[in-house]
């Protein structure tokens, strides 16, 4: 029997397959298809202090093997999360990780403080990489000093493991990963979406209301995999890999490259059962390779 359990910076997961922020809702949208208790963890939508309307429509554009989005952190705010969603999520035994977003340091801190003591929350994912908001978001994540500054500032207020979600829209992701590790991050997750755009040639207008948006899906997978490999080689904290993971083979690639766990994002939109297929496929793969546990392949890329 293969043991899929992993300990992710102190968060105990029954398997290393998480669903990514903004792609799975709050555990209810997919409830008709499968039992969310099978997931390693649920990362809920980027949560800000005050409710946010997000960007105007159109927010989506399909790209070759990918999806551009410009949602812009639409959410009902941390108070609503705490009052409405967390009690319902708590009924699942699945660990819940809250993606914490903000326009400035004060907002990140406020969200984190309001989540303190919430038993339903197993971890925090600090979103310093949203490409679709004017302030905060990616502005912190594209500079090692500002990223480290924010992490150092919020870390003392975190009563749960702090995962920092990194932006791929940088020259050197390793320098950002190292900076947040030194500033106290317990783990890093990567990659958030790649900044991109698309144009409607008939109307001669951008397809997204914000002109640019975040690219996800299989189109970004090779870039994500490379960044995970580089980062995992450079930091000691766990790396959570994501970016276009749609099949168990994709997940195994990320684990071999050094990811301790993976997140499934855009694939949820196409095949709601993708995370389960990945969990099952991973177990079979490990069994076929005569490996007892997930960490037996983490970072075992043969070069």
């Amino acid at each position: 029997m293969v043991d899929l359990r992993v300990n992710l910076a102190g968060i105990k997961l029954q398997n290393p397959v998480l669903v990514a922020s903004g792609t799975y809702g709050y555990g209810e949208e997919f409830a008709d298809f499968y039992d969310a208790r099978r997931l390693g963890a649920i990362v809920v939508k980027g949560t800000t202090d005050a409710p946010r309307e997000g960007n105007p429509a159109p927010r989506l554009a399909e790209a070759p093997s990918g999806l551009l989005n410009a949602v812009g952190l639409q959410n009902k705010g941390v108070d609503y999360l705490v009052q409405e969603y967390l009690p319902r999520l708590a009924r699942l035994s699945t660990p819940v990780i809250v993606n914490v977003s903000g326009a400035d340091e004060a907002e990140y801190l406020s969200v984190i403080q309001k989540l303190r003591g919430q038993k339903a929350v197993a971890g925090l994912e600090l979103n310093i990489s949203c490409p679709n908001v004017k302030s905060g978001g990616m502005a912190y994540g594209t500079n090692p000093d500002s990223a480290a500054g924010l992490v150092a500032r919020v870390k003392p207020f975190c009563d749960k493991p702090l995962i920092v979600k990194l932006s791929p829209n940088v020259t050197d992701i390793v320098s950002v990963a190292r900076a947040v590790e030194n500033a106290g991050a317990d783990a890093v997750s990567l990659i958030n979406t790649l900044l991109g755009m698309a144009v409607d040639v008939e109307t001669q207008r951008p397809k997204l209301s914000t002109v640019t948006g975040g690219l996800s899906g299989p189109a970004v997978k090779p870039v994500a995999l490379r960044m995970v490999w580089q980062t995992a080689a450079a930091v000691k904290i766990p790396v959570i890999g994501m970016g276009g993971i749609s099949t168990w083979q994709d997940a195994v690639e990320f684990l071999l490259a050094g990811a301790a766990a993976v997140q499934v994002g855009t694939a949820n939109f196409i095949d709601p059962l993708a995370p389960l297929k990945i969990i099952d496929g991973l177990a079979k793969y490990l069994a076929r390779k005569n490996l007892a546990k997930v960490e037996d392949i983490v970072g075992r890329l043969k070069i």
Partner: protein
């Protein structure tokens, strides 16, 4: 409850060069309310595509689809017996009212109205509008459940002009159910404000998940901010839209 099924294609009928009638067998009978939709995973197309449910009988779903691009063309090229992943029924359909009903469909917007005419009963008035006669595709099917009037912009079938040309006198005792291009829906919206009839609009949007998770397909509403066309709609009460 939403179902994710591998459905078998039982009929692929090209109605003309632009319209397709696709019927699949889902293997299970699920109650579908008029105005609800399904997403289909078209082979070699990245995202699922949403389509109004045109008809639902037993375990079968029928879609009236306008061929507008690569994805819909691939649907037209599917063969009977092939399997296709279908998620249904999605969204909230029309709110059936006891008022005197008028159904208005512009082009492919007639798709959700057939099931509505069936579910309303009492042979309501259906106005099918299009640019040309090619946009009027399911006249006989509608005629089984409704009184049908037709308008075309070029006059090639029915009354020349827009669907509004065939609208009866609408009072506050009437309800209009409409689906079609946004200019059509907006003109009905203006008319409803003037004549105070009830108006329910089925909106179209580019979607990624169709499940209310991605927040991609939003529409701005008057009182409640951005709502998802997929989950909170696709049918909205006209007065909720700040048009």
């Amino acid at each position: 409850m939403k179902k994710l099924v591998s459905a078998e294609i039982v009929s692929v009928q090209l109605l003309n060069q632009n319209y397709l009638l696709l019927t699949v067998d889902t293997g299970q009978a699920v109650k579908v309310f008029a105005g609800q939709f399904a997403t289909l995973q078209i082979p070699d197309v990245f995202l699922r595509r949403p389509f109004s449910i045109h008809d639902a009988q037993g375990t079968r779903l029928t879609f009236l689809i306008k061929i507008v691009g690569g994805g819909t063309q691939k649907l037209a090229n599917l063969s009977v017996g092939q399997k296709i992943s279908v998620i249904y029924p999605l969204g909230k359909g029309f709110a059936v009212s006891k008022k005197q009903a008028v159904l208005v469909g512009g082009g492919c917007g007639s798709a959700p109205l057939l099931l509505l005419a069936k579910q309303l009963g009492g042979r309501p008035l259906v106005i099918l509008g299009g640019r040309t006669k090619d946009d009027i595709t399911q006249r006989d099917a509608f005629a089984q459940y409704a009184q049908v009037k037709i308008t075309t912009e070029d006059g090639s079938l029915g009354t020349k002009g827009f669907v509004t040309a065939e609208l009866p006198n609408l009072s506050p005792d009437c309800v209009v159910y409409a689906c079609g291009p946004e200019p059509l829906l907006r003109s009905l919206h203006r008319l409803a404000q003037e004549k105070k009839f009830e108006l329910q609009l089925s909106l179209e949007a580019v979607m990624a998940c169709g499940l209310g998770a991605c927040l991609g397909c939003v529409v701005k509403t008057r009182a409640t901010g951005h709502l998802c066309v997929c989950q909170d709609g696709p049918v909205f009460r006209a007065e909720d839209l700040p048009w």
